[in-house]
């Protein structure tokens, strides 16, 4: 790789992480608080800046300025390592997400891997180590319980998560996320195939397994990101604050960032797989990846992608403030007894449709 | 008696029986010793010093003389209260602190016939064994004090006082003591305190009974001026003979001082119980003023309970009870007591229908509020309170509730004080309210009920409304 390619990659990494993901995390928190407030007939943070838009900055400052103490009996090294281990995998996964089509001839993806989903699952499952480590290194019972729960929960739902997207991969026949989006751009989205090739009998029939797939994927995503109704590793009514009970200041903020980053990446993946990534509906401004497109079109694609992500994030928030928390046994039961089976059957169903319907 | 002539216009009424007042307003009579001796003065003293002291006491007891100061306690009996084992000096005090409103008899005796008192006192002193006696004259009688002092000097010179009286071994020193002007000095223990040079705070009984622990903690006999004068006449007449005057248990003569709304107020010496209240008003005093109706009578000085003109009384006549009107009440100790009042000091106050009852009551209350000595709580605080309430009734600033309050204040005083002043100031109020409630309530205003009257509370109430 030459220097320029490296520089371009670096620009993309820095740009994506620090200009997009991080602010998005910050504003996801703000949105979380505002939306929850609106749902609960409150106002929410509206004090710092216009409509409280500077609240995330104030929060960040607060986290930085807060005393960063390490409890006496923790495993210091692991204790310090844990927050980083949750943060890093979350950010790493965004490397393969196509967050745009093309800008100035450059594909809007950091690493255009041919095994995108696999990479994402591989890296995302690493974040469990951060949580386990945090729970164990804290040398405290609640974090420990939180860590243990988190482990079993994430491992369980990774299975349904992985299995749920197999129908998608089967339909699209590719593991390159960029090409998957291009395909949807031209042939219609998986979830809403209202134009192009997929607007056919086969396409409409396939909608059934795709919807199942989407539901299983989304629910599993909730579980993977430890969000309500599956936030049992940190459920405050039972475990104080779960695995990050003993953390304060910026270390705590890293867990926080990690959680929200994971949520954004999850949303990005869902958008990419089911809602055509950066593509606009009805084949507008579609791009098959062959010819170069003007820069403004690239920008619109990028905006489309993040717009979809934002909608997803809002959906996450909406769900969080609507549904009650599951009991842990219900959670495990749901994962193993239902979703696992549903995902497997769904694969067979997809294969059957693809085989039988021409 | 027929040789006695009086200053014209001051002649005694035909039904009067003058013993003590024989020489009062008598033509040509002066308070000097010469004049007194000319009229048979000091004869009884001469006789007395030859008698056994006990014989004199027995004569007085036989005469049934009751104290003329107000309480009507048998004088002879009082004299016997001195403990027989006593080794301390005995004192006799003449209570000349005549301050009960409506009473004006003692001053005549002191002013016009002082030697009669001195002789009576000397006999009494001989009877009780006192070698030192005091005449406690109220501050308002400066002339009386001067006249008495002159008389004492004369008598001493003549050997009726001092050492070896009338050739006997009986010694007596007599002093005039002038009070400083307080009603309470008429109360015997208050008088004793005053005489000792202290504030005239009445003493508590027990243990300070004067006959045991009196002046300077020694046995002391305190008698009224009139009572002491009677001693001379008892000795002159003999106890049994004296007892024939008046009615049984209410013997002798007494002086009635009639004041108020009658044509001819004044003093009248009558046999006790031989005249009725109606006769006093009609015969002696010439009746009420023209066109007036009798409203009330206070028969024994201002502290006596008032009698209402239309009241009916139940009295024992012989063995049967009879109902009589006010006019028919005999002026004696027992009858007046039975009628719910008292003979007191003999000051009869006649009130006709021109007087507002509330004004009369207020007048009396003002007097007692001014004269309360302030020693014990009920009368000190209560007398002024009663005055303040009756002030308001007179001023038309009282409500009917205030009449009830007034009555209960009087009830809170009566019987709860050290001396009889408590009764003296509460009885008028109690009796006026009991007998003239309607008249008093008529002077009040219903709408003033509950309205604060003093400055501070008015202010508070005004603020309360804001």
């Amino acid at each position: 790789m030459d220097f320029i390619a490296l520089a371009i990659s670096a620009v993309k990494i820095v740009g994506l992480v620090f200009l997009v993901i991080m602010p998005m995390v910050a504003y996801a928190v703000w949105a979380e608080r505002r939306v929850s407030a609106l749902i609960q007939d409150r106002v929410g943070p509206n004090r710092v800046g216009f409509q409280g838009l500077l609240q995330p900055v104030a929060d960040g400052l607060k986290f930085i300025l807060k005393e960063d103490f390490t409890p006496k009996n923790v495993r210091t090294g692991y204790y310090w390592l844990a927050p980083a281990l949750t943060m890093v995998p979350a950010l790493l996964t965004c490397a393969v997400l196509p967050f745009g089509s093309q800008l100035f001839g450059e594909p809007m993806v950091i690493a255009n891997l041919n095994a995108g989903p696999l990479f994402i699952f591989a890296i995302a499952s690493l974040s469990v180590y951060g949580i386990v480590l945090a729970g164990w290194a804290s040398n405290s019972k609640y974090p420990f319980l939180g860590g243990v729960r988190s482990t079993s929960q994430m491992i369980s739902y990774e299975i349904s998560l992985g299995l749920s997207i197999i129908p998608v991969l089967m339909i699209l026949g590719d593991l390159n996320l960029g090409r998957m989006v291009q395909d949807q751009s031209v042939n219609g989205w998986l979830m809403l195939p209202l134009w192009g090739d997929r607007f056919s009998l086969k396409g409409l029939l396939l909608l059934v397994p795709v919807v199942i797939s989407f539901v299983v994927f989304t629910v599993s995503m909730f579980a993977e990101t430890n969000r309500l109704p599956f936030d049992l590793p940190e459920c405050e009514t039972e475990l104080v604050a779960g695995y990050h009970t003993e953390y304060s200041s910026m270390k705590f903020a890293l867990f926080f960032l990690g959680e929200y980053a994971a949520m954004i990446i999850g949303s990005g993946l869902a958008v990419t797989l089911f809602f055509g990534g950066w593509s606009l509906p009805f084949g507008w401004l579609s791009w098959d990846g062959k010819a170069d497109i003007p820069w403004w079109q690239g920008l619109i694609h990028m905006a489309t992608f993040f717009g979809k992500v934002v909608v997803f994030i809002l959906f996450f928030i909406w769900v969080r403030w609507s549904l009650p928390r599951f009991r842990f046994d219900q959670l495990m039961r749901l994962g193993w007894v239902f979703f696992f089976e549903i995902a497997v059957i769904n694969i067979i169903l997809t294969a059957g449709i693809m085989m039988l319907v021409k | 008696m027929s040789n006695v002539t009086y200053i014209s216009g001051k002649e005694p009424h035909s039904r009067e029986h003058r013993l003590i007042f024989r020489n009062i307003d008598r033509k040509g009579y002066d308070p000097g010793l010469k004049c007194y001796l000319k009229d048979g003065g000091y004869e009884q003293l001469k006789k007395a010093v030859t008698m056994e002291p006990k014989a004199i006491t027995d004569e007085v007891k036989a005469a049934g003389l009751r104290g003329r100061g107000g309480a009507g306690f048998p004088t002879g009996l009082k004299w016997t209260f001195i403990p027989p084992t006593n080794t301390k000096p005995v004192y006799l005090i003449c209570n000349a602190d005549e301050s009960e409103p409506g009473t004006f008899k003692d001053r005549y005796i002191m002013h016009q016939d002082p030697h009669q008192l001195l002789e009576g006192m000397a006999i009494a002193c001989y009877a009780v064994g006192a070698k030192l006696a005091y005449i406690y004259v109220r501050e308002e009688f400066p002339h009386a004090a001067r006249i008495l002092e002159e008389a004492i000097a004369e008598a001493k010179k003549a050997g009726f006082l001092g050492k070896g009286i009338c050739g006997s071994t009986f010694d007596l020193e007599l002093y005039v003591h002038r009070g400083a002007g307080a009603y309470i000095c008429g109360e015997e223990t208050g008088l004793i305190e005053s005489l000792e040079g202290k504030r005239p705070y009445p003493r508590i009984k027990p243990p300070f009974f004067p006959a045991v622990l009196g002046l300077y903690m020694s046995p002391t006999i305190v008698n009224n001026v009139e009572s002491l004068c009677h001693v001379k006449h008892i000795l002159a007449m003999g106890g049994a003979e004296y007892a024939k005057l008046g009615t049984p248990n209410n013997t002798g003569t007494r002086i009635l001082c009639v004041s108020g709304d009658v044509q001819k107020p004044g003093y009248f010496e009558v046999q006790v119980g031989k005249v009725t209240l109606g006769e006093v008003i009609q015969d002696f005093c010439g009746g009420l003023k023209p066109g007036r109706k009798l409203q009330a009578v206070i028969p024994g000085g201002s502290s006596a309970k008032v009698l209402r003109a239309d009241e009916r009384f139940k009295l024992k006549r012989g063995d049967e009870m009879v109902e009589i009107g006010l006019e028919d009440i005999p002026m004696d100790f027992d009858s007046l007591a039975a009628c719910g009042s008292m003979a007191g000091s003999g000051g009869v106050i006649i009130i006709d229908d021109s007087r507002k009852i509330s004004w009369v009551l207020n007048n009396i209350n003002s007097f007692y509020a001014h004269e309360s000595c302030g020693q014990c709580t009920p009368c000190r605080e209560g007398s002024l309170w009663m005055k303040k309430i009756s002030d308001r009734i007179v001023a038309g600033k009282a409500s009917p509730d205030d009449v009830a309050t007034l009555e209960s204040v009087a009830n809170n005083i009566e019987g709860k004080t050290i001396c009889a002043f408590g009764e003296a100031c509460s009885w008028p109020t109690q009796s006026f309210i009991r007998k003239f409630r309607a008249e008093l309530v008529a002077d009040t205003r219903e709408e003033l009920a509950g309205v604060p009257v003093n400055h501070e509370t008015t202010l508070a109430a005004a603020n309360l409304k804001n």
């Binding site: - | 307080a182 504030r199 705070y201 508590i204 027990p206 243990p207 509020a369 001014h370 004269e371 309360s372 000595c373 302030g374 020693q375 014990c376 709580t377 009920p378 000190r380 605080e381 209560g382 007398s383 002024l384 309170w385 303040k388 309430i389 308001r392 205030d402 309050t405 204040v409 009830n411 809170n412 019987g415 709860k416 004080t417 050290i418 604060p452 009257v453 003093n454 400055h455 501070e456 509370t457």
Partner: protein, 568 residues
């Protein structure tokens, strides 16, 4: 004796009392409180407040020839009198009946309370007596709760300056005359009296006179309302905040029993506590007000060591060690110890042990004498001279060796001096600063900064008599307890503790752990104290030795009791 007892029925229950007992005292002994204002057992009874009115009954006088029927207990029937009588001046007699709860008694109390309150300013929020005011208390217990008085109250002088230590508010006075009787009968300084009459009766000092005798503040104690207040304590603190500690006064050898009131570590007043063997219920003003030095700025709060640049604060360990080392460095014949007869027996016992440890022969206390005032102030102005003689085992009068010590310092025979609880430069001490400067070493234990401390090499902050527990022996040989009232300021310590540490530093042994333990050690060693413990001393003290001294005031009081003038 039994012949002198009479049977009395109080509220339906029969009791026996000695003949001549006042009804009010009989009721008190029977556990029935009769409210009263003017009555005080140590003063004559004028019976003027009328608060103690009770219903009384006696057997009816039998008609000639009639025999009264007795019930199965042999009691005669009681005929109740229609009028109430005062319980304070009447005495009990055989078969007497007293009702303190009857309707008549209640109505009397209500009536008297109402009358007392009508002209009394209801300024309890301002009045210092609030909280210990009989008028308040009885108003709650026996009053009606409301007022029917709608008139203006009588105005009288307020805040009258009648003496240097007592302030008079005439409007609050209820004319009980206790103060008048106290000044006339006990203090023999009859300067108070009433003027005016009726409701306008006013308490006043006689023209040209002032209430300034040394016992004037007792009038404040006995005043049942807030008419007489102490200038010193006036408006300082509401009484319900005060914490009372029973102790004794250390102003002179009398050792008057006191109750010291404090709040949050500062003493606010001292009042006498009844002890009929020591001070009756009285106390002199001088002793009573002698507590302000406790809160003084001049208190020593840290151990001090003299260096080249004057005194500097050091730790207790260093200070005690230095003192011990310095003293041990002298020959015993060159050391003198001057203790104080203001110290407790426990302190003095440890002084004795210290002298023994060091082998010191020159040991004495400073004597203080003044005039016996014929009431309570004793000629001996030291509170514990008797104790000093007993505990230190002095073979001569206290203070007799002091002049010898002075001479020895001058001649250089004594080079080291330890002064405990005394300022040697005081007039009674008689040491000049120049004389003290001739010493090679001077140590001091005292509670307040003074000239001796200026000259001393080691200065240890001790406790005042209000800050320590211990015992003292008064001039009549009575052993009494002292109680700590307030905490010590700064690092100051109780004297026995300092002396114990010093002893430990000298002999290396274990010391006592409390003043109680010190007393026990003392009781083992000094025969007069044998068999006693500090805790067992009664709150009123107990006779330790017979000294033959009497208290003039108590003697007069006994005479008056014998004459029946007072109850006592």
């Amino acid at each position: 004796m039994a012949d002198d007892l009479v049977n009395v029925q109080i509220d339906g229950t029969w009791h026996q009392f000695p003949k001549g007992t006042r009804m009010i005292e009989a009721c008190r002994q029977a556990g029935v409180e009769v409210p009263h204002y003017c009555y005080h057992p140590k003063l004559s009874s004028p019976g003027n407040c009328r608060m103690c009115l009770v219903e009384m009954g006696m057997p009816p006088r039998p008609k000639p020839g009639e025999e009264l029927a007795r019930d199965e207990d042999g009691r005669l029937p009681i005929q109740w009198m229609p009028r109430p009588v005062i319980a304070c001046a009447n005495t009990v007699s055989e078969n007497l009946g007293i009702r303190t709860e009857s309707a008549l008694t209640k109505s009397c109390r209500e009536g008297v309370m109402e009358l007392l309150l009508i002209n009394h300013p209801l300024d309890c929020p301002i009045c210092d007596q609030a909280g210990e005011c009989r008028l308040q208390e009885f108003s709650v217990e026996h009053g009606t709760g409301g007022s029917r008085f709608r008139e203006d109250k009588v105005k009288k002088p307020k805040n009258v300056d009648i003496g240097p230590r007592v302030r008079l508010d005439d409007e609050r006075c209820i004319m009980c005359s206790r103060c008048i009787r106290f000044t006339a009968e006990v203090a023999d300084d009859p300067v108070l009296g009433f003027t005016e009459r009726g409701s306008h009766t006013t308490l006043a000092v006689h023209p040209g006179r002032r209430l300034e005798n040394n016992y004037s503040l007792n009038t404040v104690d006995i005043c049942p309302v807030g008419a007489l207040t102490s200038t010193d304590f006036r408006f300082q603190m509401r009484v319900w905040f005060l914490k009372e500690t029973e102790s004794i006064c250390t102003g002179c050898g009398r050792g008057c029993n006191t109750e010291v009131s404090s709040r949050e570590g500062s003493i606010l007043r001292q009042t006498p506590r009844e002890n009929n063997e020591v001070n009756s219920t009285w106390m002199c003003d001088q002793g009573r007000l002698d507590f302000h030095y406790v809160n003084s700025e001049a208190r020593l709060t840290q151990p001090l060591l003299k260096g080249s640049e004057g005194h500097r604060a050091v730790s207790w360990e260093i200070a005690v060690k230095t003192l011990a080392d310095k003293l041990a460095g002298f020959e015993s014949s060159k050391i003198a110890i001057i203790a104080s007869a203001r110290l407790t027996n426990e302190d003095l016992y440890l002084v004795r042990r210290l002298a023994q440890q060091l082998g010191v022969k020159e040991l004495d206390v400073i004597a203080r004498f003044g005039e016996d005032d014929g009431y309570l102030v004793a000629a001996d102005r030291n509170p514990n001279s008797r104790g000093a003689v007993l505990v230190l085992g002095l073979d001569s009068d206290p203070g007799s060796r002091i002049s010898g010590i002075r001479r020895d310092i001058e001649s250089g025979k004594i080079a080291a001096l330890l002064a405990i609880g005394e300022d040697l430069t005081s007039p009674e001490g008689g040491f000049s600063p120049a004389l003290l400067s001739q010493l090679e070493f001077l140590g001091q234990i005292h509670h307040t900064a003074n000239a001796t401390a200026d000259a001393a090499v080691v200065v240890l902050p001790g406790a005042t008599s209000f800050e320590k527990s211990g015992s003292m022996v008064n001039v009549t040989g009575r052993l009494q307890r002292l109680a700590p009232v307030v905490p010590l300021p700064g690092e100051a310590r109780e004297d026995w503790l300092i002396l114990r540490d010093l002893l430990q530093a000298l002999d290396g042994g274990n010391g006592a752990g409390s003043s109680d333990e010190v007393f026990t050690l003392l009781a083992h060693e000094v025969s007069a104290f044998e068999g006693r413990t500090l805790a067992s001393i009664s709150p009123l003290g107990e006779v330790l030795i017979e000294t033959g001294e009497t208290v003039p005031l108590l003697e007069r009081e006994k005479g008056r009791i014998a004459k029946g003038e007072i109850v006592g």
